[in-house]
Amino acid sequence: MLAKKQSSNVVSPRDLKGEEFPRSSGRSAAPVLLHRGFIGAGGVLLIVAFGTDYTYYTTALWQWANFSAWLITSGLIVMLVGAILLPIDFATRRAGRLNTSSFILVIAAALLSLVNAFVHSRDAWTSVVPQGILLSAVSGILLLVAGALGGWSLAKSRDGDRS
């Protein structure tokens, strides 16, 4: 629907107006979703926590359990930033429709990880085995499924919506 303007040596002021700025492909640029990177980064930290939990399970070396506690806590904090940015994405009309499957999977993983942060605040073996590593595994699987189904974006961008 955008008027296709072939670039020329002359750049008119109209060319510089946000959405209408043409890219070399000729397609318009999709608006950047603010929340997406934070959900992805936090999700990675939560998935890695399963790895450190597993290493603690097999070695009983205390520092691995500490790594898990930090990974889960920081993963949740980074995800919380994403959760705050999601409504901003909607309010600023960057986001279009909610990406329902990813939204449900990521929220479920975050809630399980919140419980897991408290499980990991216990001392020594039972901070990980059995409940902690089980929660890490389930939330890790949920995040991987979300990633495989439609990425860790909780909403489609408006541009993506149209295409």
Partner: protein, 440 residues
């Protein structure tokens, strides 16, 4: 490696169940004596806790003494007074000290630090010893001097002959002492190192001397609640050491004592006793802190088990061979009272009821609701063994509804007139407890 056969679904169900279970502690009296009530251990998402806010004492306020006793402030404005010691000439030494500070390893450590600071546990210690001279014996010391300064989280203190031994958190120091001295400025010699950092989770080094003065006995606490900092840092900790006072040669006399915060010899039998702070976070009524006789080579359970052979599943790998050897303590004091000082009475100066037995200060802990401890008790002894229920001696350290705390009792000593001295490290006071009728 797998030690549990708990299926995943059962683990998740138990997780939901534990969120709903009650976390209120029961009657502490069930846990007094040689066979305390021991409930099943629990895992928690958030351990039961209650933390009263430290408010100190207003002028005129004081703790309450039991019938026939009165309480007066002997000294105020101290810097976190912990241990008290009476010299032969009647001068009173006040060790002003606190933890050297521990690093936060986990997100939890930051939060726990903030909670404990609210209860007044984070105040800076003076790292010094103050001398009080009450020549008239009227409870109003005319002289107060800084006796030894620039110490490193000192705690235990004992005079043998003309040598004063001071247990810093990482070494026993020696100072030459002459009767009447009011200040020691020499840096002191080092008798031997003690397990200090890294971490130094339980930092206090309680200390006493054998009757003949040849050996020192030092309580060294564990470096964690329950091995969450790894087993390597527990090497040589949670133990009671015997130190030769002349050569400094030392050995572990007994082990498995999680945090032996007070050591003393029972005067009738000459038997070594200790009060020990047991583990946290498996329930408001687990594990009872205890008073016990300490036997050479004895293993008292930590970390693998408590109260004899009750296994603690938080420790991995487990050691059934050591659990089988674990000694049951003599006398339960009930859970999370945090006993910090052990003082045997010497006759009937305060009351006939306190003629034979041990005074114990209960500092109080965060890991229980309702609160427990925050008082000085007396445990009667018969034939060198603790018998019967403890008697309250000094109470009233908590404010209304247990939401505030004025003071927390720590070090105990008898002054030369037989009055009981109580150090209070939140009120920064030394209290003097004496009989009302005889004017001691």
């Amino acid at each position: 490696m797998r030690t549990t056969s708990l299926p995943p679904i059962a683990a998740l169900i138990s997780l939901v169940a534990l969120a709903a279970c009650s976390s209120k502690g029961g009657d502490p009296a069930r846990q007094y004596g040689p066979t305390p009530y021991l409930p099943e251990p629990h895992d928690y998402l958030v351990p039961p806790m209650s933390v009263p806010e430290a408010v100190g004492w207003k002028p005129g306020e004081a703790p309450l003494a039991s019938a026939g006793l009165k309480v007066e402030a002997l000294a105020t404005g101290l810097e976190h007074p912990r241990t008290l010691y009476t010299l032969p000439n009647g001068d009173i030494l006040v060790v002003e000290s606190n933890s050297p500070g521990t690093e936060a390893f986990r997100p939890k450590d930051f939060i726990a630090g903030k909670i404990k600071a609210r209860a007044g546990a984070a105040a800076k210690g003076g790292n010094r010893i103050t001398l009080l001279r009450d020549a008239e014996g009227d409870g109003k010391p005319a002289l107060r001097t800084v006796f030894i300064d620039h110490l490193h989280s000192p705690y235990g203190i004992v005079l043998v002959g003309d040598t004063l031994y001071v247990a810093n958190t990482d070494a026993i120091l020696t100072f030459h002492y002459m009767p009447g001295m009011t200040q020691i400025t020499s840096p002191g010699g080092k008798l031997t190192d003690l397990p200090g950092g890294p971490i130094d989770h339980h930092w206090t080094k309680s200390m006493t001397a054998s009757a003949d003065g040849s050996k020192l006995y030092v309580g060294v606490g564990s470096n964690s609640n329950i091995t969450e900092n790894g087993m390597a840092v527990e090497e040589g900790r949670a133990a009671i050491y015997e130190v030769d006072r002349l050569t400094g040669a030392k050995r572990i006399f007994a082990s498995g004592t999680r945090n032996p915060t007070g050591v003393a010899f029972e005067p009738q039998t000459g038997q070594l006793f200790a009060v020990v702070n047991e583990r946290d976070e498996i329930g408001p009524d687990l594990v009872p802190d205890y008073l016990t006789s300490i036997h050479e080579g004895g293993f008292y359970g930590w970390p693998y088990s408590y109260w004899g052979s009750h296994v603690d599943v938080r420790v991995h790998p487990q050691r059934p061979d050591l659990v089988a050897q674990a000694i049951k303590p003599d006398y339960g004091l009930s859970s999370h009272v945090a006993p910090l000082s052990l003082l045997f009475s010497e006759g009937q100066h305060l009351s006939p009821a306190f003629a034979n037995g041990a005074f114990i200060s209960e500092h109080g802990s965060w890991d229980r609701s309702p609160l427990n401890g925050y008082q000085v008790i007396f445990v009667p002894f018969v034939n060198g063994q603790p018998v019967g229920n403890p008697l309250p001696v000094v109470t009233g350290f908590l404010g209304k509804q247990d939401e505030t705390v004025h003071g927390r009792p720590v070090g105990l000593a008898l002054d030369r007139n037989g009055a009981l001295l109580v150090a209070d490290d939140v009120g920064n006071v030394v209290w003097r407890v004496s009989a009302t009728q005889t004017g001691t």
